[in-house]
């Protein structure tokens, strides 16, 4: 027999325990959504997997030309291509999750207004595809390391930490922007601009050490700064970020997820009414 406890539907009725249990119950749906997105991506593009490899390579190539060759930015003595590529893999993970999560509710509006399922599944389901891209580009990076004859250091062991921070930060921010996009559609136009600004405010094309000392404290207020530096340190053995800056990044990531979940749950009840 099924448990006798009924499901109570009433205004403002929230039961966070039940919600998390239901989200866990619906984990197959997360798998299915992620599977759908991956399949569709590779089925509809002519280049398929090649595209995932080419994208960061082209971006790193452009960076190398513009910042390395034209502007002669320093890359801490490393091959500029590796220097840019290492940071770009992390950056793409972050911006990929953020951008996809932001659009996930509006992009699935016909589902949201017609079927019930734990809504949190939608933003969660963008992560696997972004992680697959990340792994592919890590593989590409490994090839580049061989080509340039660079050997990884013990710092490589910290890679999961930077990955986790990037995912958490992007997911938290994505929850907020996804909820807001439901009500205010211009968020999706503002977001790419904000992401672009953030790219230049983060040490992707240059080393954080190049930022003038008097600006550095302000610079590290961007929680991504230490994470990108950390990622590059783990992949390429450049200078590690300061412990204080990393602590701030960890705090920011936790805050982002907490804020994201709170905002998302608050707005969740009206998604179907306004989407």
């Amino acid at each position: 027999m099924t448990a006798a406890a009924p499901l109570r539907l009433a205004p403002g009725q929230r039961n966070i325990g039940r919600e998390f249990a239901e989200t866990w119950q619906a984990r197959d749906l997360l798998y299915t959504f992620a599977d759908r997105d991956l399949r569709l991506r590779y089925r509809q593009t002519a280049l398929g997997v090649v595209w995932v490899v080419l994208q960061p390579l082209i971006a790193a190539g452009i960076f190398t030309f513009v910042f390395g060759k034209v502007a002669h930015l320093s890359s801490d003595g490393r091959p500029y291509l590796l220097f840019a590529f290492a940071a770009l893999t992390g950056w793409n993970l972050f911006s990929g999750i953020l951008t996809r999560a932001s659009g996930c509710l509006v992009g699935n509006s016909s589902l949201v207004s017609r079927v019930y399922f734990p809504r949190l599944i939608l933003p969660l389901s963008v992560m696997p595809a972004a992680l697959v891209d990340f792994l592919v580009s890590l593989g590409m990076y490994a090839v580049l390391m061989l080509v340039y004859g660079v050997t990884p250091s013990a710092a490589l062991l910290t890679l999961p930490l930077w990955m986790l921070l990037l995912c958490a930060g992007a997911f938290g921010a994505g929850l907020v922007t996804a909820s807001m996009t439901v009500k205010y559609r211009d968020v999706q136009y503002v977001l790419p601009v904000a992401v672009q600004l953030l790219l230049y405010a983060s040490p992707v094309a240059y080393a954080a050490a190049r930022v003038p000392a008097e600006w550095r404290t302000l610079y590290y207020l961007n929680p991504l700064a230490a994470v990108i530096e950390g990622l590059r340190w783990s992949l390429l053995g450049t200078d590690p970020p300061a412990a204080g800056a990393v602590a701030w990044s960890v705090t920011a990531a936790v805050l982002a997820v907490a804020a994201g979940v709170v905002v998302f749950r608050r707005m969740e009840r009206s998604f179907a009414d306004v989407i």
Partner: protein, 423 residues
């Protein structure tokens, strides 16, 4: 029969806000409004789509829900299936709920039949291994064995609908909620669906079934709820419920020949429908030009978005079909609100009363965004058109064609007599 409760609804109401002023839909607009009117109250109008509805449904009951468009049926189903939450009151649900509010929600045209079964099944709340266990049954019910690995965009609409219903029907929820699925598919398939729902109820599970099809309601259910203007106006046996509904329809017959969507609904939809008849109050004189006017909200343009409507006679027979399926129709590319008018230079339906049904759908994915029926009642009269010796009689036919006759003595060169009837 068990009398254990399956659903208990107490004073359930749902309020939607409708914009009097333009509702800000962008953050920029919101900010501008906030700067212009920093202390403005939220003075939007409200509409109660559902008001103070109470009912109890026991396990194993098969209950029909009927009501006119905008009576609150969809809102009730949305509440029961947890898509949205009530503004007041409470609902207690005992057991897993499976809702089929629209056939094929979540189907993706690029994915194969097999992939879509998993996609749709998990969206409806099944675990992957449950789907795997019932996969063969689902495929057999849908009769699509040979096309499992074909993307569903190549399916015929019949196959598509069968597969979609099959997935939902095999959900095995304790409470099954079904909205007007019988509007699609052929009659063979409809019988199959009805049979499946009956079977579900026989195994002690609860079925709620919304339909405009009184035939289906009366064969399938013993108990019926009738909704009108957001209130639950009748709860009792199906035969009495249908009688109540018909009486209600008759008393609304003098309603203006226009329709306005209940607020709160969203997605691609008809916001307003209006029949511009030649005379006042929904009366049209035979042969005069008529105009059908629709206001469409299209937030989700689709490459094969199509709108059409049919005119139904008093016996619920479709007698006329008009459509806009143009491949370059603007609503296929850009979202927005569109005014679509159909002009018939000489409307030749015979005297009688008519209603229209609208269909807003995506041809490629077979998504029916909205199907409304029994809108805009209007009558056609033969006023001012005399017919010698024979009075016009409703029901003689549904259509009068222009014609001329020629009468001459056979084999004679005498001048022939001529006459006829035309607009």
């Amino acid at each position: 029969m068990s009398s254990e409760a399956a659903i208990i609804a107490r004073g359930v109401s749902k309020r939607y806000r409708i914009g009097h002023r333009v509702r800000p839909t962008t953050l920029a607009e919101r900010l501008v409004l906030a700067i212009k009117h920093p202390f403005a109250q939220d003075d939007r109008d409200v509409l109660w789509a559902l008001q103070n509805c109470s009912f109890d449904i026991s396990r194993g009951d098969l209950v029909g829900i009927i009501g006119r468009n905008g009576a609150g049926k969809s809102t009730l189903l949305k509440l029961l299936s947890r898509i949205t939450e009530p503004t007041e009151g409470e609902i207690l649900m005992y057991g897993r709920v499976g809702a089929l509010l629209e056939v094929g929600t979540g189907f993706h045209p690029e994915l194969t039949g097999r992939e879509n079964v998993y996609l749709n099944g998990t969206i409806l709340g099944m675990r992957r291994r449950e789907i795997a266990a019932r996969f063969d049954e689902i495929v057999a019910f849908a009769e699509v064995e040979r096309f499992l690995d074909t993307p569903v965009k190549h399916y015929s609409s019949g196959m598509y609908v069968r597969l979609a219903f099959a997935v939902a029907a095999h959900l095995e929820p304790e409470i099954l909620i079904v909205d007007e699925v019988l509007a699609v598919g052929d009659s063979e398939f409809q019988r199959k669906c009805l049979g499946k729902m009956e079977e579900v109820a026989h195994t002690g599970r609860t079925v709620l079934f919304v339909s405009h099809n009184m035939q289906a309601i009366s064969t399938l259910t013993k108990r019926t709820l009738v909704l009108d203007a957001g209130a639950c106006v009748f709860d009792g046996t199906t035969s009495e419920g249908i009688a109540h509904y018909r009486a209600m329809q008759a008393s609304h017959a003098d309603a203006p020949s226009s329709y306005r969507a209940a607020p709160g609904t969203n997605g691609n939809r008809v916001v307003e429908a209006r029949v511009h008849t030649s005379e006042n109050e929904g009366s049209h004189r035979w042969g005069k030009p008529i105009r059908f006017e629709f206001l469409l909200d299209v937030p989700e343009p689709a490459s094969t978005l199509s709108f059409s409507f049919k005119v139904f006679d008093a016996d619920d027979r479709a007698v006329c079909h008009l459509w806009c399926f143009a491949s370059d129709a603007r609503f296929r590319r850009e979202s927005g609100r569109y005014r679509l008018t159909f002009d018939v230079p000489a409307f030749r339906l015979f005297q009688g009363s008519y209603t229209i049904s609208t269909f807003l759908s995506d041809r490629r994915t077979y998504t029916e965004f909205e199907g409304l029926s029994q809108l805009c009642p209007f009558t056609v009269t033969m006023e001012g058109l005399e017919r010698a010796e024979y009075e016009w009689e409703t029901g003689d036919c549904v259509y009068l064609e222009d014609h001329r006759w020629t009468l001459a003595r056979d084999g004679s060169a005498d001048a022939a007599q001529q006459g006829g009837f035309h607009v």
